[in-house]
């Protein structure tokens, strides 16, 4: 299971396996915990922003603490207030749902999605596995990158870094 979670984070699962696994994340407490831990490790390694421990639990408990808005009593007397509170709660709920819905796809999401909102692509490209000749292409390409003049040989690590991954695809 943990291998599959790791594969999901790396975007290596096909759509069917990914959605099965995401479903099981919803059911399996241990799997969900592993999912969160892996992301925490990954965020820490990449120096990214890390949500504090127990963030999810705190958001959930705040939502629980919101007034029970669906109770019919008092609706007639204070319709405006009800509307405002309801809207606020809806936004909160939508935010949480949105956050939960998008969180598991963060790694699997093709990277062009973020770009697309700024410069719309003519069409959304199909996501395909790396070509079998990826290493040959990278080796041929790398020598032309002006970045080498700031970084020497280091970018060449990309040339061959995914050989093992490639063979599994």
């Amino acid at each position: 299971m943990k291998d599959r979670i790791s594969a999901l984070m790396d975007g290596e699962l096909d759509d069917t396996s990914a959605s099965q696994l995401i479903d099981s994340l919803g059911r399996d407490g241990e799997a969900l915990q592993a999912w969160r831990t892996y992301h925490l490790i990954s965020d820490a390694m990449r120096d990214g922003r890390v949500l504090s421990d127990g963030f999810t639990a705190r958001v959930a408990s705040r939502l629980m603490a919101e007034p029970a808005l669906l109770a019919p009593a008092g609706l007639q007397s204070e319709p405006r207030k009800w509307f405002a509170l309801s809207a606020a709660a809806s936004v909160a709920a939508v935010s949480l749902v949105g956050w939960l819905a998008f969180a598991p796809q963060r790694e699997a999401r093709p990277p062009q999605v973020a770009q697309a909102s700024v410069t719309p692509l003519k069409k959304q490209p199909a996501i395909v596995p790396l070509p079998s000749a990826t290493n040959d292409y990278l080796l041929a390409h790398q020598g032309f990158s002006p970045r080498a003049s700031l970084q020497g040989m280091a970018p060449y690590v990309r040339t061959v870094s995914d050989q093992s991954q490639e063979s599994t695809k």
Partner: protein, 317 residues
Amino acid sequence: MMPGRALGVAIVLASGLAQAQSPEALGWLRKIQDATQKLSYRGTFVYQHGGRSETSRITRYVDAGGDIDRLEVLDGVPREIVRTRDTIRCYLPESRVVKVDRRTAERDFPALLPERVNALARHYDISLGETRRIAGFDCQAVTLAPKDDLRYGYKLYADVHSGMLLKAVTVDSGGDTVEQFMFTQLAIGPVSRDMVKPRQAARGWRIEDSAAAPARLAGWELSSELPGFHKVSELKRRLGESRPVGQLVYSDGLAAVSVFIEPLEGRRDPVRTGLASMGAIHIYTREVANHRVTVVGEAPAVSVQRIADAVEYRRPH
């Protein structure tokens, strides 16, 4: 630490904050470039992308008779790349293959010449960032923020004394890290020639020579260039065992995108149109005029796809 240096760093920092395109920041890019070229060193670095990380050892030997660089991947499948003045050799012990690529004068960007560093300012806001300690070195951060979403942003951390680049982070338009290189250990100073010798004897291995040579790819061009990206090279080469391909290279001075063009005749595997990615590298494949066109570059997906969509063939008259 000497008080004078601390003051110097403080002044540099303050001026970096004051203006986006500081001459100091451009000066730092030149300093990094100088160090990359002139220093001998040996170190261990980690390459991270998409939750993966991989450790490599890198050694650079500077010599009047020709510099030699050696990169050895320490995790996973053993691999080694040695670059001399005229060749790049990639040793793959498991498949017993040596891939050889020739370097020509034209291909060696004599790197970012001073005027090219200045030209970078057309597409990037270049500024100084914080100072930070990395692998025991006090480092100065230099930020290159792209002026549009057609290129990535970079944060470079260089040793304040030597200018040696200790860490390089690539970020997308959302500010998320796409990939990063970071030294975890580094010794700057003379290395022996033995240290850059390939570990692999490679006797009896298959040699795949790219036979790359400048050439004109008649009829192939982009219907429109991507803003800031200009054609810097055009050549013919072989990929892998024998496939002949054409290669066009476009660059904005920092990022580069290659267009590979392969005839489809006699090939059975169908062209799968679409996008693949690995760290900051995007690869877009499509079919044009009975050729497989593969666009490879360290640029956002939108840039790679726009270049791929612009590739066209016009029968030369």
